[in-house]
Symmetry: C2
Subunit: 376 residues, 2 copies
């Protein structure tokens, strides 16, 4: 078992552990007893995860003598809404769960965000233990304490910073994860290597086949490596005023691609393409070493991720979406860039983000990608 | 101007000031500049307060060059719902208010709770400055950082602890407050005296006429006195695990009375009756000095508050409502009691609350109140 301590920060008076171990689900009762002893537990999950893991987790809890009620909602990002949040809350109230209850969030990112927000707002806050069952949730959502739901005008617009009491990541649950989701999670892991650790980046490259085949030891190492990197950025900066912005590498163009396709493009795919294009823009501005985008493309392709703008998306749509991003300050779109694999590019005054002209973004969007890449 | 600093606590990394001054509304722009500089401001209020104070506040903000948008909802506790919260949030999103915005909560308790919860959850939290315009909101809701809305199964069941950047209490706004609300607020002030400060309690008694007539200097002193007392209890105990429970004196029976009447009974009236009955129960158990309930009755009557169970409410209904209170732990109803005017009664092991048998509650509910009171 490997454990990473997420430090206390300005909005987290106490830190918490991310516990990573194959078959860790079996240890859930002892983790709960240690960090979140409660009168009753609400096991919040979605229909997919309930089908795969609900019974096993309920059985583990019951065997340990813990009173738990499973409440599930229909799987899908489209259900990450205030309505589902209210329905889950009302169901907990109907069941008579009091302030001495605890929420267990069992599932991927949608479950973690939604159940975390239920916990954050239930009787002004009850503890939550996050049990992520997707790679993306394990390495990304498990650190930083973000919870929330979508609103008609955009994603994650309603929510709270609400750190869990603990995160329990069991790579065994990745066996029931669709391959597309596993690959999507790898995009974020590759990003972690790209912004912070060239050796980790290379290790993912070398381990790609085994990771995709579900090797438990390597997946646990991957989760550990990524959580460690993300935690480092977040610990110093919970509210995105500085270092944490580095985690947005690939995400400015990535989000623009998602918005331009009305979220039809998979998040991992969008981020993969976004990283290549943002790295290429950084190369053209001589912010990044030549060959950086190319190296990114190699690794992304190896795990099965796309690296070029899909033909159906027009550069105009992407640029329009990028300039109306919620992170755009005073109308200026900002980019987190790298100077080479393993290193964030900082501005002259230490800034963590860069402003890039729309013409440059247009140039990389329209560029013939084979012109700068070497054969894999 | 008088200012009380609310200390940082376990869930409040930074403290905040409660600023009390007649005509303090005029200083709102300078307060905002100091504690919550923002790109744009959302002035959230209800229809009543908007009619009295909306234009004046908007004018003050505009004169200082601050960009503010007023968004109001229909006044009334029945609108303290998730629906109103969602509507206010969506309106702010439509107006394009970003993360660099700030909420100004202008109004009574409903506005403070609702607008505070909007701020707590808007893009995972934007700053809020509370501008309470009711006596109850000034002395009670302004300390403790509670925000939230009601759910079909009960009041304040959904919400968050979310401290404001500052509280600006202007007694001038009490001039437009219905007399019933002013008197209701006095019930809480009397409670503050009863649990912590006999001299303050006596001062309210002596100042009753002038307070009810709207004397600005005395009202400012009242707000200062009550906030000071409440802050003392809350500072050491933001999450109601100990000392803060003392603030519930009169509220266990008070809430039961409200629930038994489906909230038809005014909160202040319910708390006034609750204090007398709980003090009487404490006397009968020899927890409180004889005459304590009587002294409470005198002062409550002087400001126009009721002190006996209304004939339409049956003791059975009250007892039933008390035993299903959300604060009841493991089905046991607990009471915060006083030992005499100005002092909380602590249990043998230092407990801040007491368990009282239903028979005793029945006895005080059924008691002939004139039997133990002396003429005013």
């Amino acid at each position: 078992v490997s454990t990473i301590r997420i430090s206390a920060s300005d909005s987290e008076p106490t830190g918490y552990d991310v516990i990573i171990e194959s078959d860790a689900l079996k240890t859930l009762p002892s983790v709960l007893a240690r960090v979140a002893p409660a009168h009753r537990y609400a096991l919040l999950t979605d229909s997919n995860v309930a089908a795969h893991w609900g019974e096993a987790v309920l059985g583990t809890l019951a065997a340990a003598g813990l009173a738990a009620e499973q409440i599930s909602f229909e799987a899908g990002e489209r259900n990450k809404t205030r309505d589902t949040w209210a329905t889950l809350t009302d169901r907990m109230l109907e069941l008579g769960l009091g302030r001495d209850s605890c929420v267990i969030a069992l599932g991927g990112g949608v479950v973690g965000d939604l159940a975390g927000f239920v916990a954050a707002t239930y009787m002004r806050g009850v503890p939550v233990v996050q049990v992520p069952t997707s790679l993306l949730a394990m390495i990304d959502a498990s650190v930083g304490g973000k919870t929330g739901v979508d609103a008609p005008s955009g994603k994650n617009l309603v929510g709270a910073f609400y750190p869990p009491r603990a995160v329990l990541a069991d790579p065994l649950t990745l066996r029931t994860l669709p391959q597309l989701e596993l690959i999507g999670g790898l995009a974020e892991a590759i990003k972690h290597g790209a912004i912070a650790d060239a050796a980790y980046f290379d290790w993912i490259d070398e381990s790609a086949d085994a990771l995709l085949a579900g090797d438990q030891e390597l997946l646990a190492a991957l989760v550990h490596g990524s959580v460690f990197i993300k935690a480092g950025f977040v610990a110093v900066d919970l509210h995105e005023n500085g270092a944490r912005a580095a985690l947005n590498f690939g995400h400015t163009i990535g989000h623009a691609l998602e918005r331009a396709t009305d979220y039809e493009l998979h998040h991992g795919h969008a981020v993969a393409i976004g990283m290549v294009l943002e790295a290429r823009a950084a190369e053209l501005r001589e912010i990044a070493r030549q060959g950086t985008a190319d190296r990114l493309r190699q690794v992304l392709r190896r795990v099965g991720l796309p690296t070029i703008l899909p033909a159906r998306i027009s550069p105009d749509d992407v640029i329009r979406a990028a300039t109306t991003d919620k992170k755009a300050r005073a109308g200026q779109t900002r980019y987190a860039l790298i100077s080479q694999i393993g290193a964030v590019a900082r501005g002259a005054a230490g800034e963590w983000t860069w402003q890039l002209p729309p013409e440059l973004i247009r140039q990389v969007l329209e560029e013939d990608h084979d012109a700068y890449t070497s054969p894999l």
